[in-house]
Amino acid sequence: MSRTSLRAVALADMNGLRTRHTAEFAVPRERVIAIAIVAAMIGLFAFALYRFEFSLTRIINGIGNLGSFVPLMFPPSPGSWPRAWLFLHALAETVAIAFLGTLLAAILAFPLGFLAARNTTINRVVQFMSRRMLDSVRGVDALIWALIWINVVGLGPFAGVLAIMSSDIGAFGKLFSEAIEAADNKPVEGVTSSGGSHLQQVRFGVLPQVLPVIAGQILYYFESNTRSSTIIGIVGAGGIGLHLSEMIRTLEWPSVSFIICLILVTVAVIDAVSGRIRRAIVGPVPQDAH
């Protein structure tokens, strides 16, 4: 029987096929669910646009505005030498904020990570409490922490350091405790069986396993904190962000693009350096979403 005639026979008997093989013709449940999810997402999307009073004319006008001032950004230029110097100093401040903030956060989060990990904590209540504390610290953005610290130590980069530190303690504590929980239990058993105390179990059984992981995470956060400390100045906590928002508000476009170029170069340099150190310590690690 040739292919075409088989097709013709099958098509002629379509109804019969349907009744005999209902399962094959039924729409699969997963597909129904998938379609429902997509429909719900589109509905929510439309509702959001409606709530935001989204209109095409507004978008077109906005793009027109962008088109009128983006060309003004070229060529990037700081305007004057003293100002270029000011920007470079602010950039150094930005890197210093990121470095010190990350370092302090790592030091403070280190003991917390052990408290929040199932296998090294003192008891379940302490573990639960430290977990929740880390979670709530993590929920507050660095910019909000900056505003709080400005109330304490005044405007300036010091508030930025403290803000980066505060917002990272939560993230570090969580990551550290996860690394500690993933540690192999055999070295710990070895230390226990040769008579080690609880502290010695942690020091010689767990610590050597987790240190490289932790070092990798710290370096990774240093990279991402360089990005966040570029903006922390927007609320007055030091660094290049202060100048950037100032230049945007006063519409000095060549300076804006100059600062953005500075940021891009700095981030690229720090990524390259810390990426190299990180690979030397831990080997290639999967990138986090950031």
């Binding site: 401040e93 370092l103 953005d141 903006i231 979403a289």
Partner: protein, 294 residues
């Protein structure tokens, strides 16, 4: 028994322990130098960042009293004694929080679509043309390196105040971040289905649709959910620069010292972020469990 262990001959023991000691000394020296480098860098950073420990110590009381004030109503009573007074603006704040989440949602969707469209052109296994691939990669890098709040500042000037610049800023940043993650997933796919699709005469879009997307879709969804979580946090501060959402009220309350409002809004944000974290984490585990590949 432990007593059956025999001690090594003296000269052999000396050689072994000497080698051990020198190995350890080299390692210690390494660690020490690394530590010294960090300390020097920390001192230099402290100097540049105007770290002032005396100021810190004298003012640290203000940090704790700030939290004390956060927990106090205007009347002087503790906030939890009068929940209704504490959350007096709950209706307004809930709507603003809804806006914040919608900004994150729309920004994530638009950014994910952008990243989806660009990621195939940035993958070395699907885009043989070096120039196009690297141009797309650099573009994605630019999008994710410029902080979203900087985009927001610029867009507020172009599009006016409100959630629209916030959405666009988040969308651009998301496209950059997700485009990179997506392309890494695409670079790790099994190429056999691609060969199959191409050899049976499939065009480029057909090849993507039938050979690539089914392999990557669950990982893409997982990364997108993770990004949504990050974007909710990002959207919460968009209002700081006038780009919509709860941030506007929060910065106003902080600047004007409405302490109980600050704590109420912060609690609402933290609660929302925690719930979203929990839900997306559960969803992601299910997705990756069902998808099989990581």
């Amino acid at each position: 028994m432990a007593t059956s262990l025999k001690a090594l001959p003296a000269e052999r023991l000396a050689a072994l322990s000497g080698a051990y000691a020198s190995e350890m000394r080299a390692k210690r020296l390494n660690t020490l130098m690394f530590g010294a480098a960090i300390v020097i860098a920390a001192i230099a950073s402290g100097w540049i960042a105007e770290v002032n420990l005396t100021k810190f110590v004298t003012h640290i009381g203000a940090f704790f009293s700030y939290f004390d004030r956060l927990a106090t109503l205007d009347t002087g009573a503790r906030v939890w004694t009068d929940i209704a007074e504490w959350f007096w603006g709950l209706k307004k704040w809930s709507l603003l929080l809804l806006d914040t989440m919608l900004i994150a949602y729309v920004g994530t969707i638009v950014g994910a679509l952008g990243g989806f469209l660009l990621c195939f052109a940035a993958s070395s296994n699907l885009m043989p043309n070096w120039w196009i691939r690297n141009a797309v990669k650099r573009f994605l890098e630019f999008c994710r390196t410029v902080p979203e709040i900087v985009f927001a500042l610029i867009f507020v000037i172009a599009f006016g105040l409100g959630p629209i610049p916030g959405v666009l800023a988040i969308a651009i940043h998301t496209a950059g971040a997700l485009g990179k993650l997506y392309s890494e997933v695409v670079e790790n796919i099994d190429m056999k289905p691609v060969e199959g699709a191409v050899s049976s005469g499939g065009s480029w879009p057909e090849m993507i649709g039938f050979a690539v997307v089914p392999q990557v879709i669950s990982n893409f969804a997982s990364y997108t959910l993770l990004r949504f979580e990050i974007n909710v946090r990002g959207a919460a501060v968009m209002g700081f620069v006038g780009a919509g959402g709860i941030g506007q009220d929060l910065i106003e309350a902080i600047r004007k010292f409405y302490y109980s409002d600050v704590s109420a809004i912060l609690l609402l944000i933290i609660g929302t972020v925690m719930i979203i974290d929990l839900v997306t984490e559960r969803l992601r585990h299910r997705l990756l469990g069902a998808g099989g590949q990581t």
